[in-house]
């Protein structure tokens, strides 16, 4: 039987948001000046269905702050597509949850980035952690499948086992993890980003958590910027299919990203300036799909598909299949894709050579949604002393396997 290939569209319904996350890639706060109106949004729903989209995930900002959001959700379902939501989960009441279920929303993923203290700090709002779990309970009560997603950075990484325990107890079915990368507000906080060599301590932890998840029936889903081909590759992706491995960026192949003003990209995370194929107000979706900005992955498997690789990725044994890992991650570090410093295999190769890579911000981000700065990469001895001005340095010793372990709260004032 031919496996069904899902086609996802991730749709930023509005940029308005009720949180102020310090790592928000879109710098969400207020609505964009020219967001699609209801009629335009419903027409986009129709075009997505015609173009083969099978699932639409509504995001923001905060999707539910847009008054007509359930009308859009219902239309998605009426066109035969799945409708899911990813949210910060700040204040989804029982009544809102019931309305979401009535509109046909099938699954909601709430972002949980740590224990109460860490999460509230990263999300920029005291009480947001408690609000998330109240929202999860309300959604579950309404019969909607619940899941969580977490950002991994130097503040949240030590909390991962505790997040696992909390979301499992809350009844979550799936957990998606992604590394925080320097886009939007995260680009203003390079000190909270993991350094490539810190992946050496992170990945055994992820592997352990994947084992727990497998045992407990929780779908452990490493996001597209977690990898690649290290010793845990197949184990980490085992719930994505038997023997699943990373097969390169799929932006534009079976994924779409839509910004609230009608901008269409191959992936919701990609920087706006470099990857916009067009605006749905001016061009039909089918036509936008044929642009170079949305077709750059179409040559995978051919020499042209790997021609953009440079740096370490250009020399890697997995180059042709991997194609530089997550395009978004590579681009927001260096301003172009094709050389991805967030790679476990790469960190291991350097470790064997007694080396490690260190990233330093050279050019700050401009301050626009989906913007990024530019980083320099330094190769240095593995045992070189760590800077005393880098107190958030992540090591395995900082991982909190139980709640009694020492809190890292003393490190937080650095963000103030």
């Amino acid at each position: 039987m031919k496996p069904l290939r899902y086609v996802y569209a991730v749709w930023e319904l509005t940029l308005q948001c009720n949180l102020g996350c310090v790592h928000c890639g879109s710098r969400a706060a207020t609505a964009r000046t020219e967001e699609l109106n209801t009629e335009e949004a419903l027409d986009l729903v129709r075009q997505m269905a015609e173009c083969g989209v099978t699932e639409v995930t509504l995001i923001g900002g905060e999707a539910y702050l847009r008054p007509d959001w359930l009308t859009v959700a219902r239309a998605i379902r009426d066109h035969g597509m799945n409708c899911t939501v990813t949210t910060g989960g700040y204040g989804i009441s029982a009544a809102t949850a019931a309305g979401m279920a009535e509109a046909g929303i099938q699954q909601v993923s709430i972002s949980i980035d740590g224990t109460r203290e860490t999460h509230d700090l990263l999300r920029g709002k005291p009480g947001s952690w408690d609000a998330c779990f109240r929202s999860l309970a309300n959604l579950r009560q309404a019969g909607i499948a619940i899941s969580c997603n977490s950002q991994i950075n130097r503040l949240s990484a030590p909390d991962l086992p505790l997040i696992y325990a909390d979301i499992l107890a809350a009844g979550c079915r799936a957990w998606q993890l992604a590394l925080t990368v320097p886009m939007g507000r995260a680009a203003d906080r390079p000190e909270i980003l993991l350094q490539p060599s810190e992946l050496l301590d992170l990945f055994p932890t992820l592997n352990e958590l994947a084992t727990w998840a497998y045992r407990d029936g929780l779908l452990f889903y490493p996001g597209n910027n977690i990898g690649y081909y290290g010793p845990y590759e197949r184990h980490l992706r085992s719930m994505q299919g038997n023997g699943a491995i990373w097969e390169g960026c799929q932006a534009g192949m079976n994924t779409l990203g839509i910004e609230a003003n009608g901008v269409i990209k191959g992936c919701p995370s990609l920087p706006t300036a470099a990857y916009t194929g067009g605006n749905i107000r001016e061009t039909a979706l089918r036509e936008i799909l044929s642009t170079a900005e949305l077709s750059f992955n179409a040559r995978q498997g051919t020499p042209a598909g790997a021609a953009h690789l440079w740096g370490f990725c250009g020399t890697c044994r997995y180059a042709q299949l991997c194609r530089g890992g997550c395009s978004w991650t590579a681009h927001v570090f260096f301003g172009q894709r094709g050389n991805n410093p967030y790679c476990h295999h790469r960190a291991l190769v350097h470790q064997k050579q007694g080396l490690r890579e260190r990233l330093t911000l050279e050019t700050p981000a401009s301050g626009e949604p989906f913007d990024h700065g530019k980083f320099a990469i330094t190769l240095e001895p593995l045992d070189a002393p760590w800077s005393e001005f880098d107190p958030l340095h992540f090591t395995a010793e900082r991982i909190q396997w139980s709640r009694s372990a020492a809190s890292t709260s003393n490190l937080f004032p650095i963000l103030n």
Binding site: R116, E117, E233, G252, G301, S409
Partner: protein, 178 residues
């Protein structure tokens, strides 16, 4: 809003986008898997992590449904084959004295050491009993009490292994970013 009727040119949805060279992707995938076979290993436990009693076998993916079915069928066919073999060979006469043509002497009866009818190991040969009686019993080795648990060592949360998650500590006022 009424959905627009697609014309014939628009009948095939452009997504998911077909691969330019699916065969090459397949080849690259197999090559990567071969490389991973050499590279993958199960890790030592993370500091503080418990040994894993569940999950897929080390360094391997979990069995697929097809794999499980295959193993069940192998076991069933194996049992049937064993049953048939037992029936077939069970009806044949046992090897008689004529089998000496294969060499070797006929089986000898086991030596009788005067064992009790209950069987059991052959008792030790009678030895210098007096000497053994004279020997002082070796002092019992003193067993040290269990070392105290190192509470500084981080451990995984109990909630993960069943039961409700322990509630987090009462909230402390978080530092609000300025």
């Amino acid at each position: 809003m009424t959905p627009k009727e697609p014309d014939s040119s628009e009948s095939i949805p452009p997504l998911p986008r077909p691969l330019d060279d699916a065969n090459e992707i397949r080849r690259l995938r197999e090559e990567a898997r071969r490389n991973l076979d050499a590279e993958e290993r199960y890790p030592a436990a993370v500091d503080g992590g418990l040994p894993m009693g569940a999950g897929p076998p080390r360094g391997a993916e979990p069995p697929s449904r097809r794999g499980i079915l295959k193993r069940i069928l192998i076991v069933i066919f194996g049992l049937i084959a064993a049953g048939l073999a037992a029936l077939f060979y069970g009806t044949r006469p046992g090897p008689g004295p004529g089998n000496v043509i294969y060499g070797g002497p006929p089986p000898q009866p086991a030596p009788d050491h005067g064992n009790p009818v209950y069987g059991g190991p052959v008792p030790p040969p009678p030895g210098p009993e007096d000497e053994r009686k004279k020997r002082k019993p070796s002092p019992r080795k003193r067993v040290a009490p269990n070392a105290p648990l190192d509470h500084g060592q981080p451990r995984p949360p109990a909630a993960v292994y069943g039961g409700p998650a322990p509630r987090p500590q009462p909230p402390t006022p978080p530092e609000t970013p300025q």
